[in-house]
């Protein structure tokens, strides 16, 4: 009997066990919904100047909404009932961007329709800040799990189309508007373009990556990026009565470049980029990454709180550099790192070795160096994302106080963070390559991080001219952070940290290669 006679029904049931009821996730989701409702209520009552027995500021309302939505994100991606997930997808994923659109455009239309006041030009307002962009951002986080988990092609298509459509709309509005008007570029343009970029990246990912149906959209995205880059560059070169390069030109050039680079990153077939993409995907699929982001936000919030207290105690007068007081007011950030680096890197090789995927990986024609570097690049990208959360709080400081502060030390600080972070992560990856047990890898990295933190405490309060101080000062990353936040940076410090990266990467490659010697 030939096998053609047997075309058995396709298997449906997975062998893996899964919970029947997502009761925990639902509890969390409903708690989130309640927090959002209460937060909104507080905002409405405050807006209506209601006299409450208990005074609650707008901050409490916003915090309620933000925390509630975060809890709902969790529920949206975890609930195993298709209908619940679909509901989140449609209401959260398509409804939120739609309300974002209405909030951004309706006030513009209304204010345009109103007659101009006698004593000046018409004031056109938009609620894009602070509501519109937040709606778009939240919508993205609901749409991604919806597209990822929806098994029915029809429903999924709406989600994917939503991602692509909203992304294209945001990107084109931001980029064209930015090119047309300089003032638009610096405010709405940047945020719109970056949101559009995030949406488009998610879209390309959801239609099967740049490999399958995403190739043309990715090329189109790269094309738009290059076009914007070229136009901004030409306008910067041509010149006019007012300088264009700074501020507008540079912003538009960077936006165009980031579109082009993001698209190339998704399209490229270079082994190291292919590997990095997978590592990043693994990060975004693991709960530990979101936990780390949440932890970072929490630490940033605590630091921010302390900073505001400090500000209040000095009658809102604080000497520059403000950012130094913000990032290193307490040493929370440094302590956070001691826990975060092990959590980011423990998985890397230990997990692959334990599950055996390492064997499959190394039986493809891939050598050790790209494998190690891809893990380093992916973890570094995620590490920088963790630190990007802190920028939101700085934005808040700027908006709340209404005063400009010196932002330039941030450039040196983030440069130091990247190089310094790479050194820590490379160490973690090395420890992960030694073992197949994640806990061991994490413990070793933790000890290593304590070792990095120790010099700061050893030299604190010591006389500055001893040899011990001079040597340990270079090893203490906290001292390096302080220096960079003061807007000063020696290249030699970066070279020192960079050589540490090379050292650990070299060791990791050798450890992995040793498998083929013994």
């Amino acid at each position: 009997m030939s096998s053609e006679t047997f075309t058995g029904a396709p298997e449906q049931a997975p062998s893996a066990m899964s919970e029947d009821q997502a009761s925990t996730a639902r509890t969390i989701g409903l708690t989130g919904l309640m927090a959002v409702v209460l937060g909104t209520l507080v905002l409405i009552l405050n807006a209506a100047n209601a006299r409450l027995p208990l005074e609650l500021g707008n901050n409490v309302g916003f915090a309620g909404i933000v925390i509630g939505i975060a809890l709902m994100f969790y529920h949206a991606s975890r609930d195993n009932d298709q209908l619940v997930r679909r509901l989140y997808g449609y209401v959260g994923g398509l409804g939120l961007p739609l309300s974002g659109l209405i909030l951004s455009l309706l006030p513009v239309i209304i204010s345009c329709a109103r007659p101009a006041p006698d004593d000046g030009p018409k004031v056109i307002v938009s609620l894009f800040f602070p509501f519109g962009w937040a709606c778009f951002l939240a919508g993205l986080f609901f749409l991604i799990p919806f597209c990822k988990n929806e098994p029915e092609e029809d429903h999924r298509r709406y989600g994917v189309l939503g991602l692509g459509g909203i992304g294209a709309g945001l990107a084109l509005t931001g980029l064209i508007g930015g090119l047309a008007a300089g003032s638009f570029a610096l405010t709405y343009g940047v945020v719109l373009s970056l949101l559009g970029l995030a949406y488009l990246c998610a879209y390309i990912n959801q239609v099967g990556g740049a490999e399958l149906d995403g190739y043309r959209p990715a090329l189109a995205m790269a094309g738009v990026g290059v076009l914007v880059f070229a136009i901004a560059l030409i306008r910067s070169c041509v010149g006019g009565d007012r300088p264009y390069f700074v501020p507008t030109g540079l912003v538009m050039i960077s936006l165009g470049l980031s579109y082009a680079i993001a698209a190339l990153f998704m399209v490229s077939d270079l082994t190291i980029i292919v590997l990095t993409r997978r590592e990043l995907l693994a990060y975004f699929c693991s709960p530990i990454a979101y936990l780390l982001l949440f932890l970072s936000a929490l630490v940033a919030a605590a630091t921010y709180n302390e900073f505001v207290d400090q500000l209040a105690s000095t009658n809102n007068v604080l000497l520059e550099p403000i950012v130094l007081y913000f990032y290193l007011g307490g040493l929370y950030a440094a302590f956070m790192l001691v826990f975060q680096i092990p959590a980011l890197t423990m998985r890397m090789f230990a997990e692959e070795k334990r599950t055996g995927t390492y064997e499959v990986l190394m039986c493809a024609p891939v050598s050790e160096t790209p494998v190690v570097l891809s893990k380093l690049i992916a973890s570094l990208a995620f590490y920088m994302l963790i630190w990007a959360v802190w920028l939101i709080f700085l934005l808040d400081i700027r908006v709340e106080s209404g005063k400009a502060f010196d932002y330039r030390p941030l450039i040196s600080f983030y440069l130091v963070l990247a190089v310094n972070g790479a050194a820590f992560l490379a160490m973690g990856i090395f420890f992960s390559s030694l073992t197949r047990n994640q806990i061991v890898a994490a413990a070793l990295t933790f000890v290593g991080m304590i070792g990095w933190l120790a010099p700061y405490f050893i030299i604190r309060g010591q006389p500055e001219n001893t040899t011990k101080f001079l040597v340990l000062k270079h090893l203490s990353f906290v001292n390096l952070w302080v220096e960079s936040l003061q807007g000063q940076l020696h290249l030699r410090e970066l070279i020192l940290q960079g050589s540490v990266v090379v050292f650990w990467v070299f060791l990791t490659v050798k450890v992995l290669e040793a498998r083929r010697w013994s």
């Binding site: 096998s3 298997e11 062998s15 099967g208 990556g209 590997l275 997978r278 995907l281 024609p365 498998r515």
Partner: protein
């Protein structure tokens, strides 16, 4: 540069004091489909891992497509497709996404990549789960996704470690048919514990046990061996034995008492003769009743049992 697809020469692998593989030697010609058999812990997986360059050999030479596994590791890896026993997969990826990722790693050209993925999805019958997460697949599907991954770059040599474990009987047959189709254009080294599978698709069989090579030959050769004559009759065993032994062309008669007076006689025959009828008639004429008259050909199962229990380890 040899014209063998796989050549293993004096291969030794020690794990500390344990000798996992002990001076194994075999060659596989291009396009051959070879069954690689042996009990658990015999060294099959170790040998395969050495061939895939994942592990170094303690001593000896192994080459794949003429490339040394030690010195030309990259070239070897470009030419093999490997399906490990436990089929490790990334749980967070989707089937199609995973195969595309693997195709990129194996440097499948962009122009044909999509069609290769489609072909492998089709060939390994995983098309209906192309959008499913790997972590939610059943064992059978995982196995077939692993096979699709091994095939994705259309490698010259395929090394498959138990490709049918965890499949249901129909899937086993389908997978074996897929593998059989590959023979001729691809060299396949296939390890399994299920002997009828090997008999169904492989001509050549290599059996190793406790790290040493015990048997390397063709099943058709096995079939050419002269079958043993079996006869069960009632009566005194010695008398019947003599009757049988007297017939021309019969050698080495052995007897074994079965139950209440019936004995089983086994006799070797000379090549090219079927003496069943003659012997049957003679025994009957001598006054004994015949209960069973049969030939026993040596099949793979008998061979395997013999070889592994190191009885009659006649190397080819």
């Amino acid at each position: 540069m040899s014209d063998h697809a796989i050549r293993v020469d004096n291969l030794v692998k020690k794990y500390g004091p344990v000798q996992a593989v002990d001076r194994i030697h075999f060659e596989v010609a291009p396009g051959e489909l070879v069954g690689f058999l042996g009990p658990n812990g015999a060294g099959k997986t170790t040998t395969m891992r050495i061939l895939t360059t994942f592990m170094p050999a303690t001593s000896g030479i192994a080459t794949v497509c003429g490339y040394d596994v030690m010195n030309d590791s990259m070239k070897v890896r470009e030419n093999i497709g490997y399906l490990p026993e436990s089929v490790p997969l990334y749980p967070e990826m989707r089937v199609e996404e995973y195969l595309t990722y693997r195709a990129k790693l194996k440097q499948v050209d962009r122009a044909i990549r999509r069609s290769r993925v489609e072909t492998c999805l089709e060939k390994c019958r995983v098309k209906e789960v192309r959008r499913r997460l790997l972590g939610t697949l059943s064992k059978g599907y995982r196995q077939r996704v692993g096979l699709a991954d091994a095939l994705i770059a259309d490698p010259k040599v395929l090394i498959l470690d138990e490709p049918t474990s965890g499949l249901d009987p129909i899937q086993i047959r389908q997978t074996l048919e897929t593998i059989k189709e590959l023979a001729g254009t691809h060299t396949v080294l296939l390890s399994t514990h299920i002997l009828p599978e090997v008999e169904a698709i492989c001509d050549r069989v290599i059996i190793i046990s406790r790290g040493t090579l015990r048997w390397d030959g063709r099943l058709t050769r096995l079939a050419e061996q002269v079958p043993v004559l079996l006869l069960e009759a009632r009566g005194p065993a010695d008398d019947i034995k003599q009757v049988i032994a007297k017939q021309p062309g019969i050698k080495n008669v052995t007897s074994r008492e079965l139950d209440d007076g019936v004995s089983l006689f086994e006799a070797d025959q000379e090549k090219g003769h079927d003496l069943r009828e003659l012997v049957g008639r003679k025994v009957f004429e001598a006054g004994y009743t015949v209960r069973r008259l049969d030939l026993r050909r040596k099949n793979l199962e008998a061979l395997y049992t013999d070889v592994v229990l190191s009885r009659d380890a006649a190397s080819n």
